[in-house]
Symmetry: C2
Subunit: 229 residues, 2 copies
DNA sequence: CGCGAATTTGATCGACATCAAGTACCGTGG
DNA sequence: CCACGGTACTTGATGTCGATCAAATTCGCG
């Protein structure tokens, strides 16, 4: 049961104000006096919650990575988002989760009871605003991702993905992907072979460097940004 | 300047409660004493707001239909949603619109100043809840649509579309589409030829009937629901 | 070092896109 | 009411990007 972290809920927590980045990174959950947070760990590929299950908690990634996805009845999968350290996920306005969440690698999460959060929102408009802002950030990402899935070419999808990971987890222009090619494919609406081929081609063109399949260095970010359209 | 309509903001406007349908149909904007609504009409293909423009109003469709979309720099378009009578749209948590909105046919809209709504939300948690619920409904739709765009076949996409329109605008199992094949294609991530061919095939199989290209009767809803996966 | 899983690479296929006519729809004006 | 014209839609022929099928390699962990 922890409840430390910063005391600034969100930069300017008032209606009409919002972070550009949406749900990424801000320490929303923390700094709420009345909210008790629990910490819990999940192993690689372990399920955190399933689609359709009651939404009892809201989560924040402390360490590790999480994928949220939907399945078609024949097993085709669409990953809607990856949740990385600092990210919040699992917040629902309705009563159930609409995607399944799984740990990609060993992962630690901070959990807060959703009902406690809602009770707090009822008495504190700043918290209510925070919940709205968080959902709006997820919506923004989903809108961008619909454009990617509906209209971008394979190369553009991979470029967008690399730039997203660069923005979210890179230090010194280098990052280690927590997820495999299959997860990337299911996020981008491609096959893992197409993802692999596209990455190989970018490597061949000198746009990126590898140190093992998942350690990536961006060597030509403007080129990627131009591809992205 | 009108402000009539029902006085029931939303079925049970409290945190933790939400309509299954999301943004469709509820008369959210109405029944808020302090909110002044303006009515305005737009002609076919007329722009309501553009991506990146300041978000000054929230809109409700009174009559007609609206498309919200994003463009790639080469003109490829992804329609994120169609807004039909009763629907709210244009609500942003940030300061600008992230999609462009255009009238598909001659359309009447009710408009409320976004700042007035935010002011109301600051003093009334029920309104704050309504804003969150609305954004969450849009997110739910976007999540479903990502699965469609990333993983469904052309036939499944068209089946999903027909069932969505049936749910939203059909009376007696029949409806008139306000949008053309090109709009449907850009919503489903296909070409207009593929949409046309798929509809023709469903017509040939007796799953649906036409009375003119846009007047559709569903003759075998279970079949469509089964295709949809 | 060795083993299973992940990734890469190659060959081929197929669903949907693209290119190209035809045809039907529908609002307008005679 | 009907002829007209432009747009929307349908249908056909062909092309292509990414999927699928099938082995190699490589990775990374024990």
């Amino acid at each position: 049961m922890l409840n430390h972290s910063l005391a600034n809920p969100v930069a300017r927590p008032h209606w009409g104000q919002m972070l550009p980045g949406g749900v990424e990174s801000p320490e929303f959950l923390a700094g709420q006096p009345a909210l008790v947070a629990t910490e819990f760990s999940y192993g690689r590929n372990e399920s955190i919650y399933g689609e359709g299950e009651p939404a009892e908690y809201v989560y924040q990634v402390i360490r590790g990575a999480v994928r949220s996805y939907k399945l078609l009845n024949d097993g085709r999968r669409q990953i809607g988002a990856f949740h990385l350290p600092g990210d919040l996920f699992g917040l629902e306005s309705g009563s159930t989760h609409r995607l399944t969440a799984e740990a990609i690698v060993d992962t630690s999460l901070r959990m807060v009871k959703r009902r406690a959060l809602e009770a707090a929102a009822n008495s504190d408009v700043r918290i209510a605003c925070t919940l709205w802002t968080m959902t709006a950030g997820e919506l923004r990402h989903a809108e961008d991702h619909m454009l990617l899935l509906g209209r971008k070419t394979a190369a553009q999808r991979v470029a967008t993905f690399l730039l997203e990971m660069d923005r979210r987890i890179s230090t010194a222009g280098m990052f280690a992907l927590p997820m495999g090619r299959g997860d990337i494919a299911d996020y981008l609406g491609l096959t893992l072979e197409t993802v692999s081929r596209t990455l190989s081609q970018l490597h061949g063109e000198g746009v990126l460097g590898f140190s093992g399949a998942r350690q990536i260095t961006l060597r030509n970010r403007p080129r990627l940004a131009a591809m992205d359209a």
